[in-house]
């Protein structure tokens, strides 16, 4: 293994890149974000045509059996183009959770529709404390004979407002902190007692807080009552894809900042001439190199079935911290114009901030690594 993409991966990546380069320019992306549409139906349809929606799933459920490394190959261009389509929410989170419980006929049905692009899913897991650890899930789920009842709240559920189905993590027994007693349930966003508070995130994504007030869930919509492993692997895989997006964004920042520093003149010379600016560019390159190496190596570990939780924490922590650092350096190097909404630079910063905050920030993951767990 040389950690480079295979020819197939390179081709896939190239076709995604080429398409986005043409149809997902920064101007087009900004127009989309400032419209009232949460994502582009045309782009989504093209993703269906490219096979991206079935990419991560095994053939047994109608997918094409792509690997985590395949997803890294397309994740980098997603990050580079600041994609706001619900790929993470519907495909990588909801879809992967459904695929892992596809012995349930309802899960399989929903997955088919998500794969086909005829439905969108959302994964309601985060409760606002900044921890990716399923054991901390507190949303209450009472078993009442043939049905369950949900009470509590999920925060910042990506794609919830557009979702046709919510895949919800909840606690059927025990207290937060325990790994057992976790359920995975299908909930219709329009079900009685479900209340969505939708909003747009600083990085241009549609999301919602979702409150559950005595929401009845029939037994056949309960996909698992021992869901720790499913949630963990779903979040773990998503985290690699998210890291790929981050690395794509970091690479774009380095490239655009280097170009700016070479062309922008102050005091009669390009600002890249100033040693402090030059060294900042050098540090950006160092950071991008480290983040990208950790991404490629960790993805390979996941593919080889050898990634530990510690390996994933290393990746998420490094990408989170280095991403912020690269983006802040890019803004500073651009000077005034870097502090406006008019350049892509600031939007990369916001995207990288959001990626750091999701599924545990760098502080969280460094502590996990440092604890030697």
């Amino acid at each position: 293994m040389d950690f480079t993409f295979t020819d197939e991966q390179a081709m896939l990546r190239e076709s995604v890149s080429r398409y986005l380069h043409k149809h997902y320019t920064f101007a087009a992306r900004q127009a989309l974000v400032s419209s009232d549409r949460p994502y582009s139906a045309e782009v989504w349809q093209h993703f269906v045509d490219l096979g991206l929606l079935s990419l991560p799933f095994p053939e047994s459920v109608g997918g094409v059996g792509g690997s985590v490394v395949d997803l890294v190959a397309i994740g980098e261009p997603f990050g580079e183009h600041l994609l706001v389509e619900p790929y993470l929410a519907s495909v990588l989170l909801a879809g992967k959770a459904l695929a892992a419980t596809a012995d349930n006929v309802r899960a399989r049905d929903w997955l088919q529709r998500i794969l086909a692009g005829t439905a969108l899913g959302a994964f309601a897991h985060e409760e606002g404390n900044g921890t990716p650890d399923p054991a901390q899930v507190a949303l209450r789920c009472k078993g009442t004979g043939a049905a369950f009842q949900l009470d509590g709240e999920k925060r910042l559920v990506l794609g919830a407002a557009e979702a046709d189905v919510l895949v919800v993590t909840a606690r059927v027994e025990g207290e937060p902190g325990r790994r057992d007693g976790l359920a995975l349930l299908l909930v219709a966003p329009g079900a009685p007692g479900v209340r969505l508070t939708p909003f747009t995130t600083v990085d241009g994504r549609s999301a919602a807080h979702v409150a559950f007030d005595s929401v009845e869930v029939p037994a056949e919509d309960c996909l698992s009552t021992d869901a720790y492993a499913v949630i963990t692997s779903t979040v773990g895989d998503a985290l690699v894809s998210l890291s790929a997006e981050a690395v794509g964004a970091m690479g774009a920042l380095l490239r655009q900042t280097a170009e700016f520093a070479t062309t922008r003149r102050q005091f009669g010379v390009p600002i890249a001439t100033f040693q402090v600016v030059a060294h900042r560019l050098a540090d950006m390159k160092i950071d991008v190199t480290k983040a990208r190496a950790s991404l490629l190596y960790t993805a390979a570990l996941v593919e080889a079935g050898r990634a530990t939780p510690r390996d994933l924490s290393v990746l998420k922590a490094q990408v989170g911290r280095l991403g912020r650092s690269v983006a802040e350096a890019a803004v500073q190097t651009h000077g005034g114009i870097g502090t406006t909404d008019e350049l892509a630079i600031g939007h990369y910063l916001k995207r990288l901030l959001a990626i750091d905050a999701m599924f545990g920030d760098s502080d969280y993951h460094y502590r996990v690594v440092g604890a030697g767990a």
Binding site: E126, G128, N129, G130, T131, D133, Q136, R155, L156, P176, G177, T197, F199, T200, T201, V202, D203, A207, H209, R265, Q266, F267, G268, F274, V276, V277, E328, V331, Q332, G335, G336, G338, T339, T340, D341, E342, G346, L349, K350, L353, A354, A357, M358, G360, D361, D363, Y364, R367
Partner: protein, 401 residues
């Protein structure tokens, strides 16, 4: 500076507290809570400025003859502390801390009489026309031209990073009146006493936080009177430098920096650590906040030495040192804010940020302002001379280059 508090100072503190507790309207308080910048929400802060002016407290640092309070150093600190403690919106600096003091020092009698009352009273808002798209850190390269024509100048060119120009009715600016010599020569300092002029256009620029704060101003054959000139023609560079170094020894930023520390600590008290328990009890949080609080304390110490006349403030590098330290500390504090808010800070709530919108919050005030504040503060190390330029200046006082 007297470190012991006496009954007189205590009485003063009570007087200040009583006023600050009662005088601000609800909208002014809301503007304080929704502050995400060194520039407070415009309408509310100008209203507050006028209220303070009626009490005689709009410009404590000004000479008494121009409307200052005549307070002692200790009183000024007490005022700043009580002000910050209540999270009230800071008055806009452009008039009170920039053009006002400059006119007091270098303006003609006529200019003083014409402009100082409006600045003091909060009737006028002045924006500054310094930077241009091609002249940022390298300010002396500016090219916005003023050509004499009778008693007027005809202006052509543009200015950028003109703070709140879209709300301003006055502008002080640097223009190029001669381009034959070295670039610092031929610059003229000019006052514009109105902005609704033929040929003058203002374009607000949306910042990283999604809010319009800075602007670009375009001049196309704009006619303004030469009487607005401060100092001699072509000698504006010295005037501008005087303004840039004006704050020497008079800065009291530590009370508002402490306010960040307090806000973060209060927010952490009602948040859960990802490892369980209250965030405020988390040792890693305490370590991070403790370093920032100690850094704020050092800023307080530097400032208190300076206002007390310690030679520390006579150092040529002092203004640059202050600017560098307080801007980077602000950035570190807003970074911690953003991290404490975490996921809850990610929703964009532009409407709720608008004072008086009545829009419901998705969580609390802290989560509302954390990310906008962080994003807005990225500019702190860039405006008023990038910190790279400041460090160049500081280094020159350490070692000749």
């Amino acid at each position: 500076m007297d470190l012991t508090t006496g009954p007189e100072l205590d009485a003063f503190r009570e007087e200040v507290a009583a006023f600050l507790d009662t005088a601000p309207t609800d909208a002014i308080r809301e503007a304080g809570r929704k502050l995400t910048s060194v520039f407070s929400p415009f309408d509310e802060v100008m209203e507050w400025h006028r209220i303070l002016h009626r009490r005689g407290w709009a410009a404590p640092a000004w000479p008494v003859e121009h409307g200052g309070t005549g307070w002692s150093v200790e009183q000024r600190y007490v005022f700043a502390e009580e002000y910050a403690r209540r999270n009230l919106p800071p008055l806009l600096p452009n008039g009170l801390k920039m053009i006002g003091p400059l006119l007091i020092d270098l303006g003609s009698e006529e200019q003083k009489q014409q402009h100082l009352p409006g600045i003091l009273a909060g009737e006028d808002y002045w924006t500054q026309g310094y930077s241009e798209p091609g002249a940022g850190s390298d300010l002396a390269s500016l090219s916005c031209a003023a050509v004499a024509d009778g008693d007027d100048y005809i202006l052509n060119g543009s200015k950028i990073w003109t703070t709140l120009a879209h709300r301003a009715n006055r502008m002080f600016m640097l223009v190029r009146t001669d381009s034959s010599g070295r670039k610092q020569h031929g610059i003229t300092f000019l006052l514009l006493d109105r902005l609704d002029l033929p040929g003058l256009q203002i374009r607000p620029i949306v910042g990283l936080d999604g809010l319009p704060e800075q602007c670009e101003v375009f001049f196309e054959d704009v006619r303004v009177p030469q009487s607005g000139r401060v100092g001699a023609e072509n000698e504006g560079w010295a005037v501008a430098k005087h303004l840039l170094t004006h704050e020497r020894g008079g800065s009291t930023s530590s009370p508002s920096l402490y306010r960040f520390v307090q806000t973060i600590r209060e927010a952490a008290a009602v948040r859960t650590s990802p490892f369980g328990g209250r965030l405020v009890d988390d040792p890693v949080f305490q370590r991070d906040l403790g370093e920032l609080e100690a850094e704020v304390a050092s800023v307080e110490h530097v400032e208190k030495l300076a206002v007390s006349g310690h030679p520390i403030s006579a150092d040529l590098a002092f203004p640059s040192l202050n600017k560098t330290v307080s801007s980077e500390l602000t950035q570190r504090l807003t970074t911690l804010m953003a991290r404490v808010a975490g996921l809850q800070g990610l929703p964009q709530q532009l409407q709720a940020l608008h004072v008086g919108s009545g829009a419901a919050l998705l969580s609390d005030d802290f989560d509302l302002v954390a990310l906008p504040y962080y994003l807005n503060s990225r500019a702190a190390s860039i405006y008023a001379g990038t910190n790279e330029v400041q460090r160049d200046l500081i280094a020159r006082t350490v070692a000749a280059r």
